[in-house]
Symmetry: C2
Amino acid sequence: MKNRHINLKSLSELQVGEVFETCGYTLTQADITTFAFSFDPQPFHIDEVAAQQSIFGGIIASGFHTIAICFRLFIQSGIFARSSLGGTGLDEVRWYAPVRSGDTLSAEVEVVKVIPSKSKEDRGVAILQYRGYNQRRELVVSFYGNHYLLR
Amino acid sequence: MKNRHINLKSLSELQVGEVFETCGYTLTQADITTFAFSFDPQPFHIDEVAAQQSIFGGIIASGFHTIAICFRLFIQSGIFARSSLGGTGLDEVRWYAPVRSGDTLSAEVEVVKVIPSKSKEDRGVAILQYRGYNQRRELVVSFYGNHYLLR
């Protein structure tokens, strides 16, 4: 099978401590309210008037949105394009600071642990820490993701 | 301020062990692929041909999608409509079984812990466990969510 991606990695090629950097994504107000209207319809995510009176002082992105953007930015890098068998979970999802329209999110993704399967030789789990930053390099979100990968 | 929701709850009204049940949502193939194409574009979420050859035997929903649906179903119940100040994080997100087009997701949301703030009298954190089930009552996803609430 041809490697169509220059930076393709399987489980056995990951080094603990290795960090992948994603490109950025600039959120628009429409992105934020459209996502939140479907998945997190709280006033401070969808209603500018209510949001201005909230503790956030204006509309902020849903945390479910910001973790999904970080994940997308990593997935689109193609690093696991041939090796990924899905994920089993996330841990310690933390939202540190509001993300607003006009903010540019990018992520650093660090290999924290590599666990070869005991029962299936050809696969295993990689635990990655995702750290999402805004354009001021403020950490706005982080989480651990468990990736099930071919070796 | 008028309570427009019959089942409105503030932090001090939550009982540990109390369980809220949401209504259901039936996922379509378009839902699944549209979400995944934006946020989790892996072949087994967006490409029927590749998905049939994958370990899943067909397209399955992104786990980011299934947690967001469970959250939406709970938020739309309106229980925290007047008390929610946002969330600080999620813990132990676990995906147990594939969710496919035609599946109907619903959630049980249990109050696990209620922690009044020490510094701010009028608020605190509630930790809720979200459990997402399919139409066969199989547990497909679970996670803990930290809600920052007015008392």
